[in-house]
Subunit: 372 residues, 2 copies
Amino acid sequence: MAKEFVVTPWEVKGDIDYDRLIKQFGVKPLDEVILKRLEKLAGKLHYFLKRKIFFAHMYFDSILDDVEKKKKFYLYTGRAPSGPVHLGHLIPWIFCKWLQENLDVPLLFQIPDEEKFFFKEGLTLEDTKKWAYENILDIVAVGFDPKKTKIFLDTEYAGHMYKYACLAAKKTTLSTAKALFGFTDSNNLGELFYTTMQSVPAFLPTVIEGKTTQCLIPCAIDQDVHFRLTRDIAPKIGYSKPATILCRFLPSLAEGGKMSTSIENTAIFTNDKPEQVKNKILRYAFSGGRDTVEDHRKKGGMPDVDVSYQYLTYYLEDDKKLKQIYEDYKSGKMLTGELKELTIEVINKFLKEHRKKKDKAKDHIEKFMLRD
Amino acid sequence: MAKEFVVTPWEVKGDIDYDRLIKQFGVKPLDEVILKRLEKLAGKLHYFLKRKIFFAHMYFDSILDDVEKKKKFYLYTGRAPSGPVHLGHLIPWIFCKWLQENLDVPLLFQIPDEEKFFFKEGLTLEDTKKWAYENILDIVAVGFDPKKTKIFLDTEYAGHMYKYACLAAKKTTLSTAKALFGFTDSNNLGELFYTTMQSVPAFLPTVIEGKTTQCLIPCAIDQDVHFRLTRDIAPKIGYSKPATILCRFLPSLAEGGKMSTSIENTAIFTNDKPEQVKNKILRYAFSGGRDTVEDHRKKGGMPDVDVSYQYLTYYLEDDKKLKQIYEDYKSGKMLTGELKELTIEVINKFLKEHRKKKDKAKDHIEKFMLRD
């Protein structure tokens, strides 16, 4: 029996069947043909692609057509700020940076500070703005090129955005919004309208690149529904349909679902100190190990359900080393404790570097910001 | 049997029973007590008040409390641009000007250029912007003080407005919006969201006046529903409930309903030439006269249903003269043709002056404009 799971922009839970999601959302798998084309153009493939962390797309082939014809495109991604950045948030950003570097492409980075305000009780616009600027430090720390990257908050850039949101809003009936997002009469008007603001960066090629260029949106697959709507609207108002390239969710420390800011001790934040990271992984990371050492040595571990191992697939670039760990764990040669220590080391090494860059980011934010 | 009528921000039709509207909308009649208070403070009463053209209000007494205590307030009115300005549009503006002059009060003038775009098929944002700037000439021609009057288009001032619209949107459920505006699943997301933008100027005291001041909105009663919602939201987000002072509709040339841009030959536009005004009134103005001169002389005319006479109540300031006309027409002494000639003269005199000021307005618009 297929397990139940839910994937919406506001809720991800259960044991996600990504193949079913591809069908359900009407997107396409990132197949070998398309990966080969990208490899030829970029000169290499990011390990997120080889490991199918990015696993689905819409119109990414059309972006590759443009690149082959030396026609420009631009990247658009985002971050809805309501708390600290965790390891899951960084995945699409790291991938954007790789695309920016290897395909020489500009990036529009949206911070929809009103989204979480609309959807969460008790959050003010002051709260989300505070988180926005904290999160921007993490974004800048990823290493984007300030000459080719623009970041904006919706409430600070609405003067430019609102008229495009109006164009999108006129083309979207309540009926369509209900069908796509499951809205009911108890949703507020902000929740209803918000999706039009998430469409807007797909209509802003002139901000960052030539007028007729298409955009590519690297993001986690929960955001796909917004861009399904954007693709429906775009040709009606004179724009290209945005392409998407979609990634899986970094699992939460506990089994199932995605890493989430709102559930304590399921996420590793970029601000977590090495000791905290260690404790969280040791205490909470769901283990694919056996109940006793004896049993583990005999039957072997289960890397495919082990959360520490999953984290290594996202954060350990070395393919050979990863393969070795997989085999050692599966054979029972490597114990859960050893796997966890290794993961702690990899994550803490990454975070140490990240925090260094984050500290320096403070002085560089203004180079990136777009405001009205 | 009570006649059926409809009054919404998007449709006014039928023979309007204003007493019933007062009950239906939960507003208060402008009674003698409140008018006496205003007269004492302003030194006089505008004839729109004496003739009950402005006939209802909410919290206008609280505005008068403020004036008595020498506490400031500000005016807010608006114009949704989708065509030329007609004589009906001018009524709240003329009244705003009178309030500005006699109570020394600043005015925020909203031009929601996205509203008609959302609600009318075939209108673009370029169309409504074009009309916005044409209509602003009419607004400036009314004679507002540029030092105390600020005009803005929603699409040009959204950078300031959007965050306040978000505050309003979070406090308004779809259920409330449906109940107030009658929305269905076929409405678009812009139509749903728009009311939050119409609330915003009630939350912008700092733009024009002190932080804690209340606003007074002079407008036609069809707009009341928006401000009913604003009054509900305001205290929840830390603002005073806006007060309203509400006027009747200038009748259309044909019997019943209000003067409307969208129905040809029912409206007199400020750009109509004297000959056009003459022809429209002679040909279309619904007459309260009798079928034959003989009958008219015997039974007398019916000024209360005569559209020309109604126009005189809006545009002929001289109380004595108006009373004389009423009596002469009612007694049969004055014929419909004579009444129409008189009305044509009064309207054309007004429009001649208005157009002179409108011609000069071109050079002064920028003194009034607020932009992001």
